[in-house]
Point group: C2
Chain length 289, copies 2
């Protein structure tokens, strides 16, 4: 199968590596508006060829959109106007509601599969591409009933070839849940980094006192501002809802410390401990779909 990946960054590049290694792709075509990224992807063998968007849309079996959400929204109408009726488009955007609304009445809606692979690292660009990034992670497929059965089947095959678990979700539900579980982690990590950088003027002290705990909590603060800005813009209502609860809870925690109510902080921490059990839940640990 000919697979075209638009956006040769962390997600697109890692996808290319795996789809070549597992034999799913016969030929990998890359599209990137950053010529440097395209050169690196070609040089590193992530893709076989680099084409223009127009060429790629007209001559491929599967077209994967792996660019920040705003770029997907900008590109998708052009892509749909160019593809033949046999091409399947898989969008890998981090938010879904606006994409869903953008294409809801499009004649080629059935050819699009709206997906979100819950995988990534804090790094970006084609140099960040790694093998097995997607293994055992969830691939969320949104609004499955609006894609053709054939398109869903092909997308499922692709995700299963990466050993992903496939989960189905409504696109607006996806955006709400993603705000809770993914988007808020990034904001709290960015803010943690800003607080430490603001208060702690000595880089040596940050380095010396940073245990593994700090390093892991602040890891996401290295993430791409470009990509995350698009997510805040696309999902601002849900993110603001969750942020307000987060701020309320941290205020509560702060006040208990200020008032010396350590029985209350104890209760809150015991409650928070439950997250460990959920993340390790064995019944969810199998690959399914």
């Amino acid at each position: 199968m000919d697979i075209t990946i638009i956006g040769l960054g962390l997600i697109g590049g890692s996808l290319a590596l795996d789809l070549r290694a597992n034999g799913f792709a016969n030929r990998l075509i890359g599209v990137d508006n950053n010529p440097q990224h395209a050169d690196i992807a070609l040089h590193e063998g992530l893709v076989d060829e680099v084409w223009s968007l127009e060429e790629a849309c007209q001559m491929t079996d599967i077209l994967v959109l792996a660019v920040p959400v705003n770029a997907i929204i900008q590109l998708l109408p052009t892509v749909l106007s160019l593809i033949s009726s046999d091409t399947i488009v898989i969008d890998m955007g981090s938010t879904k509601a606006e994409i869903a609304s953008l294409i809801s009445t499009h004649a080629k809606r059935e050819q699009v599969v709206m997906a979100h692979p819950m995988a990534g690292t804090e790094f970006s660009g084609p140099e960040a591409a790694i093998s097995n990034l997607f293994q055992r992670k969830a691939a969320i497929i949104c609004d499955r009933h609006l894609s053709s059965q054939h398109a869903i089947m092909v997308a499922e095959k692709l995700f299963k070839s990466l050993f992903m678990r496939i989960i189905y979700m409504d696109s607006s539900a996806h955006d709400i849940h993603a705000a809770y579980v993914s988007h808020i982690s990034h904001i709290s990590s960015y803010v943690l980094a800003l607080t430490v950088l603001d208060k702690e003027k000595s880089e040596a002290n940050i380095f010396n006192l940073a245990s593994g705990g700090f390093a892991s909590t602040v890891r996401l603060a290295k993430s791409s501002p470009r990509m995350w800005n698009d997510i805040y813009e696309q999902n601002s209502n849900n993110i603001l809802d969750v942020l307000d609860i987060y701020i309320e809870k941290i205020q509560e925690f702060r006040n208990y410390i200020a008032e010396g109510k350590f029985d209350k902080t104890y209760q809150l921490m015991e409650e928070a401990n439950k997250i460990g059990q959920i993340l390790n839940t064995p019944q969810f640990n199998g690959v399914r779909g």
Copy 2:
């Protein structure tokens, strides 16, 4: 050398494993007020013998206090009253100012080395003990000039045998820096877990949408409430200072999203990105001391 470890949890147990493996300890004696923990430590071979506090204090070369800070404050006067003039006490407490003030005028002050190994995991108890926990991490020694040269030399030897970098710091400076770099990470992680648990009623959704990013940011939320409560109590002024800045910054971030000022969120994220360079600074990466 005979080494007694008071508190056979993550820190005490991991220390026992390494000091036996590297030959620093000839005999390891454990003290724990939790008989179950003492049994596990003995059964797992972390320590050779389990003694009472009184026996241990009277018959050991080095006595390591590896219990939560409030327990150290409670135990230290008893320990000092029982030890001979040849015993060295190393306290491994997470906060230092109150311990410093507690023993400042004690006749045996010089026999105490106030230290804080910047190492740990989110787990606790003797089952959590692991080898090489301390390797390449910083051992902070506080108020070095208040300990005897001999005591400092022995403590340094012990930490170097674990391949730790030794850093010297004033005890009150330690508590301020620890609030910025360590304590605030834990609170933001606990609050993140509480927010998600509060808003996201479906455990399956949390599990399915949790990428590696969420898992690493929320990891510290599994930490021991007992240990962290002591830290909040001991270091409340510094923690409140940092928390207030954190809350101010997350409010600022929230307002920029609400107002659609994505140029501002971009700037904040670019600033936050700098934490990556600091944590990877090569000049700090060697083992020194």
